[in-house]
Each structure stands twice: as C-alpha cells, then as structure tokens.
Amino acid sequence: MALAQLKIDTTEARLADVDLPQGAAWGNAARADALARVRLMALPTKRDEYWKYTDPTSLTAVDAPEAALFASDEAPLFDAVDRVKIVFVDGVFDADASDDLEATGLEIERLSDAMATDIHWAKDIYGVLEAHGQKPVARPLAALNTALATDGVVIRVTGKATKPVNFIYLHNDTTSDAILHNVVKVEAGAEMTLLETGPAAARFSKLLEVEVAEGGKFNHVRAQGRDHERRAVTHCFARIAADSVFKSFTLTFNGVLTRNECVLELVGDDAVAHVAGVCVGDGKDFHHDDTVFITHDALNGESRQVFKKVLRNGATGVFQGKILVKEGAQKTDGYQISQSLLLDDDSQFLAKPELEIYADDVACSHGSTSGAIDETALFYLRSRGVPHDEARNLLTLSFLAEALEEIEDETLAEDLRDRLEGWLARHR
C-alpha cells in the first residue's frame, strides 16, 4: 500500500536539515542504510495501528518541544552502589563527570571512537539488530536513531564484570533533543549489569542493542527520571543465544510522554528473557507506553513480561505486548501480565496483549486486568488501625510487587522501592 502523503511529509520535514555523523566506512554505511529504512517505512503518525494508543507527533516533529528543568531534592539513585558512572548531559558524553572507562571484564568505548575505527566488533551489531527487529512490525523511530545518533557508548563484556555500569542522563537545557545509541556485546559466559538513570533531555531518543552470546547474562535496571515535561522514545533490541539470560526492569515516574519499546529474540535453546516495568503517573499530561515484542525461535525458551501501572488524575497507561512463537520453537514457556491500578475515574489503561503461536507443544498465557483499589482490603487494613493513605500506599506497593520482584539485586530493588514510596507519599 502506498504511504499516506502525511507520513511522507512528516518524514521529509524531519529529515530536511539533518547531517549524518561521519566516521569509518562501515559506520557511514550503517547510518545511510538506516536513513533509507526511515524513508521506506516513513515516520509514524497516530493513524498507524502500532501507534493507536500513543500519539507520536511530538516525537517526529522537527524541533523538540520545550521541557522545564526539574529540581529534585532527592539524592541520585544508586548512590550507594559501587559502579562505573558514564554521564551524558543533554545527550552529550561528559568525560569529566564520568569515571574512567575501565572496569574488570569490560571494554568501554565512546560510540564516535568505535565508529571511527575501520575494523570494529560493533559493526556486526550497530544497526544490525535494529534492522532485524523491523520485521514484522516497522519501528521507524529506531531506524531514525541509528541514522542520526550523535553519541553513545559501546561495551564488550568479556568476563564477569565486577561492578555495574551506570549511564546517567542529565537534563540541563529546556529544548535539548538528544539521540543516543548504545551497543552491548556480552561474550560467551560473560555477565554484566547495566543501570540507566535520569531524564536525559527535553526530547530523548535512545536505542540499546544487546547481543548475549551462549551462557551469557545481561541484567538491566533503568529508572526514567522524575522530569514532568520530558518526552522519550526508547528502544531495546536484543538477540539472546542458547543458555543465556536477559533481564530488564524499568521504573518510570511521570514525564509527558514515554514510549519504551523492547524487541527481544530468543535464538538459542534454553534461553531466558524477562522484561518488567512499573510506571506511576499523575496528571492529564502523563502518557506512558510499554511496547514489547518477544520472538521465540528456539527450543525450550522462557519469557516473562510483567508490567504494572498506577495511574491517577487523568494519566494514561498503554501496554502493547506480544509473544511470537515460531514454528519449531517447541517447549516454549511464555508468560505475560499487564495490570493497571486506576486511582480515580479520569485515568485510563489501554492494552493490547497479543499471542501469535505456530508451535503446538507450548505453554503460553497472558493476563490483563484493570480496576480500582480493592475496597475490602482497604477496609480490612483500616479496621486494623492503618490510616487510609498509608493503607492505600501499602496496597499499591503490593500491587507492584510482582514486577519489582523481577529485579534480582536486592540493593537496587530496595533503592527503587524507596523512590516509589517517596512518590506515593508526595502524590496523595
């Protein structure tokens, strides 16, 4: 079908004044290919089925909409954790604020350095996983990121990393428009934990490509900052080999618009992939969208999607999840749950939990629920002397527990739980 004129116009307007960053031949080719993909697919409009519940207009506009800076009185997240800090300010790497890019078991380089190197391992991943993830559903904003990314980091994990790497995204400019692209390669048997924190920019496009080799393990914990006017579209593309593990958890507080897409493919037998998320939103200008696509293409794979949303004062939560089990991917165990707690009558939850299954010996299930706080439980707690607000927060936290349990590291989980309690205390 021919592309609608509106899509073509939106795309050409966005691409009118862009210059592709230059580097080694492979990098230039990857960017040019990605740009061609963008033109072929065209940028999304709200008439696209995949954007049925989220309006992409502000993400595809030429200029980033303004976002006021948000002063937080809280200590930075994960402050107590021994980690390698890599700081980006409005999407630009800040060497002074960052730690040395050295850690046991890790090779870390800035994206621009890697892409200036003629022969580099990142060649097999940069834009490759993203291009592969364009089928069966087009993700033009991801291709746009590959073409235009101005900064980022590439990490090769060769052993068991002794400490996590933390990407810290600071926001200092009310009109910043940041495009970051990170690449992680976990070698066979290697392990790492990646933390991401902070609001990043007024408009933030971030793409993460992860290749996990046999027996490898990739752990990802992310907190998208408390910035009320931020807009973000993030993508994660991962290829997960035999016996390897991929786990990702995201906590989102507010933000005008957030779309987190996670596209995982289990290509080796006995692979495990878990994606979880908690989002809490307050106010009409809060819109949060989790879009997940997990493909099982090997035997005995396990995948879990656990997403919980707490919404109030007209906030909107979206979940689009899919499990695709390809022919021959027998013994797949796929689980998906999306739940929302609507704290008042103005908020809404829109979900599309999909299954597409071409193998018969599988156990796949999905569940989705939406509703208010259980009055009976509330009444019980109050009858036991727990004040109303506290009882409500307790029930809210217990509703979120299943998703929070997906975080393996208890220190990190505790840190995030504290933040949640703080948020709930502030938003009564």
Binding site: S347, L350, E354, L355
Partner: protein
C-alpha cells in the same frame, strides 16, 4: 418478490440434521450441488446492478437511494488488510451479485408452484418432511403436534428467500418473521426506522458493499412484552457458482420481549472460492433479550485450500434499552477464510452482552474472529468465552475489543480465550484490545495456548477409543462451556461437527 408469504412450514433443522451429521463419514457432507436453472444478473457490480437488485425486490425509491449512496461510498473504500488472513485478491467485478432460481421469478402461491428441486434441496439438508407438508399447504398440518421444539425457518437460496415457515402462528403472537425484501414491502416504517442504525452503511468495506447489494435475508420484529413462542431460524444455502451471497438480517426485540434465533449455512464444494458478506443488525430495547446462535458450516475448501467460502461478516447488537441483554453463540467450523466479529454495544444501563465462540480451523482454513464489547452504560456486564482450535495447516486468530467508556461506571468484563493446537504446522493467535477509561469498572482478560493433553489422550485410548475419537472427546471437553450455551438441538449438532471438522488432523 421472492418470499412465499402464503405458505407455512413446520419443524426445524433439529433431529434430522443431527442424524445427518452423525452419519457423516468425514468429508464435507453438504458439498453437493443442486442442478437448477438459475437467473443471474450480469457479473460485476455498478450502480445499474444495484438498481437491478433493488427493482427485482420491487423496492421503494428510498431503498434504492440508500443502496446507491452505500455503493458510492464503497467505491472509495479500501479492502481491510489488518486481519491475520491471506487469500488471493478478490476480483469484485468477477462475481454474480444476484442469482435466483428461475422458478422463483413469479412468487409461488403454493408448494405446487415451488420448484421441487428446491424442496428436495432443503429435504437433503435435513429440513423435515412435515415442514414440506406445510409448505405444500396441507390443511391441518399446522396444528399437527410438532416433534420436539418448534422452529420457524426462513430458507435463503443464493440471493433469495424461498420460504418462511410458521408465519401465521407467529403472527398470532404479533411476531413478524419474514424475508427482508418482504419487510421492506410490508413494514417499511420499521425497516426505515432501524435499518443501518446499528451497522451504518459506511461501517466497513464489506458492510458497505452489503448495504449496496444485499439481495435478501431475514427480518424479525418481536413486539413489546412478547416472548417469541418458538425459535426462529434462517438457513442459508449458497448453490450457484461464482456467486456472492449478501444477506442482511435485521432483528428488533422491542421492550421486554425475548427471542432465540438460530442461523445455519452450507454450500457446495467448488474449486473456486466464493464470497459471502453478510450484515446482521440486532436492536434490543429495554428489558428485552436476544439469543443469536450460529452454526457456520460453509464449505471450507479442500485439503490444499482450493475453493471454499470467504466469510466476511459484520454482526452487531445494540443494547439500547436499560437491562437489555444479548448473547452471541457461534460455532465456526466451515469457510476457507472467516472474518467475523459479532459485537455488542452496551448502551443501556445494566445491559449485558455475552459472546461464546468455538472456532475450528483445519487443513488450510483461516479464521480471524472475535467480538467487541463496547460499554457505554452504567453497570453493564459482558462476558467473552472463546475457544479456538487449530489443526492441519490452519491459522486461527481471536481478535477482540473490550472498551469501558468513562461513563460506563461499575461495569464488568471477563474475557477468557483459550487456544488448542493439534499438530505442529498450525497457528493460534490472540489479539485483544482492552481500553479502560474509568476506575470503578473491572476488566479481566485471560488467555492460554496449549496442545491436546497427552495424559488425557492416553487415558481415553486405554479405554478403547481410537485416537481420533479420543481427540474429539478431549476437544469437546475443551469447548464445553460454549457448547452448553447453545440451544439444545444446536449443541448436539455442534458437538458432532467439532468431531467431524477435526477428522484427519491426527496422526
């Protein structure tokens, strides 16, 4: 004019049909073809064809205009491509839009005037003899005690209704049950008031096409407070080659009334695919209740996917009044491609919608079916139970929408869709849309996908069943919740159909 408004028919499709189904050896039983002289409109669709259909039905001017405006819209529409079905492009100009037995040209006054071939066709399809006695106008047959429950039948053959039974008895209760062409002629005020108010002519590609070219269908009006004295039924038969069937059903249940409506359909085996694009509109007023059951057994095509019916149907019920209730039950075993989403608009406060579905796809069949529950009124309830079974190389998709509008407070939805896979070459998919816009409503959705349990099979086999029998038993157990929702005669037929549709899928 096509309907046999002067003749009456007794009995329905029950026992004989059940026996007929039981006798089945495994192949599509209804694949035979009636050799009958047909009268066709020229192939293709254009305003002249639309006018021709309208004039064949002796319609008033407003109806012709209604059709033409739908046609103008249709020309600007694109065929939907979002469903998970693949089929070759349909050449909409290579189809006959109107076909009727030549003998129906003049309205038959009695059975003597009805072509015996037509009667034989329905006899072969399992419509009992007694019914034909009445069709023949035998005095007193109407008062003869019917075996089991009475079912009034409207029989639709290609583009025309050949006869409606029990009309007189229904009339006594005030129920109007006739072909839609007859309704347009005799009850224009009702048709004008309700037609297109649930499925507007601009609704979707196939519904719009149907609005332009529908040739016949059934019309039901149940007056206030009346509990329809018998089940109503329409039996659709496609016979002519290269012909599309476009029927339109309009059911109106006025305040406090009740009706149970059954629909059955078959078609001959042919190598070329045939199009069936129907529209069903149901209006449910205050305190009224409608049960609509379908056993869809169109020709599914052969094992290589050759031939079969493309079943693109728009069905929708509008629960307008408070405390109104509608229940859709469907057993979808036939058709090469199914594209069908019987929906409920729960407009009245405390209204209820239910959807029970079994969709079985075997060989190369593709089914994309489900429902929409649109909650607009307060305290509305809906329940969806969908069982999808795939075997052979078939693809089976559940696609549904549950929408809770901001004003639909304290509403409730429960959805369960289970898929069963038999064999490793088929697919089962679930695509639910859930939209919740208030917090006092509860929405729950559950879906599972699994295969036939080996332990259960082993148990059945250890009791002496052969493998196919065992699979049929397990599958029937899997479908039980839906089968129980069907009227009794249908349930038996459906149960047998479930077994037959899966024959050859094991081993």
């Amino acid at each position: 004019m096509t309907a046999l408004d002067t003749v009456e028919v007794k009995e329905g499709v029950d026992q004989e049909t059940v026996d007929a189904v039981k006798e089945l050896s495994g192949n599509y039983k209804y694949g035979w073809n009636t050799e009958i002289e047909m009268e066709y409109a020229p192939k293709g669709v254009n305003p002249d064809i639309v006018r021709l259909i309208s004039s064949k039905n002796k319609e008033p001017e407003w109806m012709t205009e209604w059709r033409l405006s739908a046609f103008t819209r249709w020309e600007k529409m694109d065929e939907p491509t979002w469903a998970m079905v693949n089929y070759p492009d349909i050449d909409f100009q290579d189809i006959y839009y109107y076909a009727r037995p030549k003998s129906m040209e003049e309205k038959p006054k009695s059975l003597d005037d009805v072509d015996p071939k037509l009667l034989a066709t329905y006899e072969k399809l399992g419509i009992p003899l007694k019914e034909q006695m009445i069709l023949a106008g035998v005095e007193g047959a109407e008062d003869a005690p019917a075996e089991g429950r009475k079912v009034a039948v409207d029989a639709v053959f290609d583009s025309v209704s050949v006869g409606t039974t029990f009309q007189k008895e229904l009339e006594k209760a005030g129920v109007i049950f006739c072909s839609i062409s007859e309704a347009i002629e005799k009850h224009p005020e009702l048709v004008k008031k309700y037609l297109g108010t649930v499925v507007p002519p601009s609704d979707n590609f196939y519904a719009t096409l149907n609005s332009a070219v529908f040739s016949d269908g059934s019309f039901v009006y149940i007056p206030p407070g009346v509990r329809c004295p018998m089940e109503l039924s329409t039996y659709f038969r496609i016979n002519a080659e290269n012909t599309g069937q476009f029927e339109r059903t309009l059911i109106i249940a006025d305040k406090g009334s009740y009706v149970s409506y059954l629909e059955g359909c078959t078609a001959p085996k042919r190598d070329t695919a045939q199009l069936h694009a129907a529209v069903v509109e149901i209006i449910v007023e205050e305190d009224a209740e409608v049960k609509y059951s379908t056993v869809q057994n169109w020709y599914p095509g052969d094992e290589d996917g050759k031939g079969g019916i493309y079943n693109f149907v728009t069905k929708r019920a509008d629960c307008r009044g408070d405390r109104s209730k509608v229940m859709w039950t469907q057993v979808e075993t036939g058709s090469a491609v199914t594209w069908k989403y019987p929906s409920c608009i729960l407009r009245g406060d405390d209204s209820q919608g239910e959807f029970y579905s079994i969709a079985i796809a075997n060989n190369m069949q593709q089914a994309d079916t489900g429902t929409k529950m649109i909650h607009l009124g307060k305290n509305t309830k809906s329940r969806i139970v969908s069982k999808g079974i795939s075997a052979g190389k078939a693809q089976n998709t559940y696609r549904g929408l549950v929408s809770m509008h901001p004003k639909a407070t304290k509403s409730r939805n429960y959805t369960q869709c289970d898929s069963l896979l038999i064999g490793d070459k088929c697919g089962a998919h679930t695509v639910p849309y859930i939209e919740v816009k208030n917090n006092s409503s509860r929405v729950e959705h559950e879906a599972t996908t699994s295969k036939v349990d080996d332990d259960q099979l082993f148990y059945c086999r250890s009791r002496g069943m052969d493998e196919e029998e065992a699979v049929a038993l397990v599958v029937n157990g899997f479908c039980k919740e839906v089968l129980q929702a069907l009227p009794m005669e249908f349930a038996m037929e459906a149960q047998a159909l479930v077994a037959i549709s899966l024959e050859g899928s094991v081993g």
